[in-house]
């Protein structure tokens, strides 16, 4: 089942001198339930903009983004925000944990925007999630007291605590050493498998990209279809 589909998506911005700059150019991409997709590309190739499109953060200049079959532009701004909170989880390169908040508070934060039982039981749910990523003994630690790998595990727990259908990972191992990066990816995949979430990873690292089942390359805003594994 399709979670998100990009149809001929282009994104153009104006430069200070008024000249247009095309960041994405006619991108077609579809992500299905349980999918493992990797997107590689050089700096400035449009990877982050593509991620923002997939995350319903940015809107295309032309083309259509369909989320669960519905055009994203049919949602109000607040509706898109709420949908993003419920269905999409983000993992960032720089972890982006909230400073001076404990690991538990960080993981519980997305549940503040839930309106169901999860809101009232957010601490218990966040505790379980942290135990699931092996940080049950670091609940009260603030980011300053955690290693890079541990911080990314907290970020993964936070991204998955609302059980999203789509996980968007932007260079998830970019700030970690090779070994820690591998461990973090294994964890991310395991937790995604448990919730049957689709995982889209944007990375420079061919080893990380190779872990996905479908591979794409982004070059000057154009996406090339299904790069065979090993050819990046």
């Amino acid at each position: 089942m399709s979670i998100i589909r990009l149809e001929q998506v282009s994104r153009t911005v104006s430069l200070p001198d008024g000249a247009p700059l095309t960041i994405l150019d006619g991108v077609d991409l579809e992500v299905f339930e349980g999918d493992r997709v990797s997107i590689v590309g050089r700096s400035g190739s449009g990877k982050s903009t593509l991620l923002n499109m997939l995350g319903l953060i940015d809107s295309p200049t032309t083309g259509e983004v369909l989320f669960e079959g519905l055009p994203a532009r049919s949602f109000s701004s607040a509706g898109r925000d709420r949908l993003r909170g419920r269905r999409i989880g983000f993992v960032f390169q720089q972890f982006n944990l909230l400073a001076r908040r404990t690991a538990l508070e960080n993981v519980a934060t997305p549940l503040l925007y839930d309106s169901g039982v999860a809101f009232w039981r957010r601490r218990a749910i966040a505790t379980r999630m942290l135990e699931n990523v092996g940080l049950g003994d670091r609940l009260g630690s603030t980011p300053e007291r955690l290693s890079g790998g541990e911080q990314q595990r907290v970020a993964i727990a936070r991204a998955l605590v609302r059980r999203p259908r789509l996980i968007l990972a932007d260079e998830p191992t970019g700030a970690l050493d090779l070994e820690t990066g591998g461990t973090v990816m294994e964890l991310l995949e395991r937790v995604a498998n448990e919730t049957d979430a689709a995982l889209v990873t944007i990375t420079h690292d061919p080893n990380i990209a190779a872990r996905a089942s479908r591979h794409y390359r982004l070059d000057a805003g154009r996406i090339s279809d299904r790069v065979p594994a090993g050819r990046y």
Partner: protein
């Protein structure tokens, strides 16, 4: 989860976020709130002090001049000759009955020779009618004010002040303590009530019913203290026209060559007005201090929001809507200033309710009023309003943060 469930989690969630933010940045918040707390304290203290002083003024005024609107009625002749008190009394009673005025009393001064443990003593005596107690809101420490049954007593009834009561050993009034008055004959009078004495009231004094006092006084004594004043307590809105009618009526009864004046006795109203002006000035200054505190708060909040752009962006990726971000940033400011307001109000209570201030503000009154709730409410409303104002600009800045830029910030 219905609409109300969503609303509840939204509001509770926004408060939780705001409180967490205040807690995490408590050092900064505390520093920025000192000004607000002090200003709220000043504002609350001014309002409270004004209310206590006004109450004190009103009580004192009510006791001497009567409650609003008490009118005094005086009669005098054109040629300066003395009018017989009985004539004025009869004319006054007739007019009061005609206009169906329920609260009317005469109010005279005199003295009685009273036999006390230290010897015979001349005690200042106010001669009144039964309604006087209500008209002047006379407080009682023990016993009761005069009633109609006291008028029928063979022995005169007395309401004595605390000093006089103490001088006879503060007896239990249920034992019907008596005092011996030395008039033309010796008369035994019964003490039925005791009024509290303020700290400045050092000498014994008492109230007597006018009819009973007249029976004890010789015509010479009555002439010595002159004609008593007559008072009516009427609704404030009809006081002026009714006063004119009463004076015309009494003048008509007393005949040519007599002038009758009806005038407002309750001067406390005017004094309360001037006190209110002082309160307004000091309150205005406190409000200015509060606004200055708010400006400082806006400044710090703006800087803080700019340092939190990435965090706001991250929260938006978790599903925080623009409205929710606005509410959370706004509430941070409100939660903080309300906390400062609570502290400010508590300080104001300490300031106003401590014995030194109380003694200064409530001079002469026996029942110091409690800390006025209105002052605390004014303080808290001011704190909330300042928080909302100070939070508005940073909240608008936070809403305008673009998620994409914020994450890369």
């Amino acid at each position: 989860m219905g609409f109300f469930g969503g609303l509840a989690t939204g509001v509770v969630g926004a408060f939780s976020e705001a409180w967490a933010e205040v807690r995490v940045h408590r050092g900064r918040v505390l520093l920025s709130l000192i000004g607000v707390g002090v200003a709220v304290c000043a504002l609350t203290a001014v309002v409270a002090a004004g209310s206590v002083a006004e109450q004190a003024l009103r009580e004192t005024s009510e006791r001497s001049g009567g409650r609003a609107a008490t009118m005094g009625i005086n009669a005098f002749t054109d040629d300066g000759s003395i009018l017989p008190a009985e004539d004025i009394r009869t004319a006054f009673r007739t007019a009061v009955d005609r206009y169906d005025i329920g609260y009317a009393s005469e109010h005279g001064y005199g003295e009685q020779q009273v036999r006390l443990p230290g010897g015979r003593q001349s005690v200042p005596t106010e001669t009144v009618d039964i309604p006087f107690g209500q008209m002047h809101r006379v407080p009682l420490l023990e016993g009761e004010w005069f009633t109609t049954s006291d008028e029928r007593r063979l022995a005169p009834a007395l309401v004595v002040n605390e000093r006089l009561w103490e001088s006879i050993g503060s007896p239990d009034l249920r034992s019907h303590p008596t005092l011996t008055l030395s008039a033309t004959n010796e008369v035994t009078a019964v003490v039925v009530g005791v009024t509290p004495s303020p700290s400045f009231d050092l000498a014994p004094s008492m109230f007597m019913l006018a009819s009973q006092a007249r029976a004890l006084q010789s015509p010479e004594q009555q002439a010595l203290y002159g004609t008593p004043q007559f008072e009516v307590w009427v609704p404030a809105d009809i006081a002026e026209p009714l006063g004119a009618r009463l004076s015309a009526d009494i003048r008509g009864q007393l005949g040519d060559g007599v002038q009758v004046d009806a005038f407002r006795n309750d001067y406390g109203e005017q004094n309360a007005e001037s006190l209110r002006q002082v309160q307004l000035i000091i309150g205005g200054i406190a409000l200015l201090v509060l606004l200055l505190g708010a400006l400082g708060l806006v400044n710090i909040a703006l800087v803080t929001v700019r340092t939190r752009i990435r965090e706001i962006g991250v929260r938006r990726t978790f599903g925080a809507t623009a409205g929710r971000v606005f509410l959370a940033v706004m509430l941070e400011s409100v939660v903080a200033t309300v906390a400062a307001g609570v502290v400010g109000v508590m300080l104001a209570v300490l300031l106003i309710r401590n014995p030194i201030t109380t003694e200064f503000l409530a001079q002469g009154i026996t029942d110091v009023p409690p800390f006025p709730m209105s002052a605390a409410v004014v303080g808290l409303i001011a704190a909330t309003a300042v928080g909302a104002l100070a939070g508005l600009i940073p909240a608008l800045v936070a809403v305008r943060v673009k998620v994409i830029d914020a994450i890369r910030y």
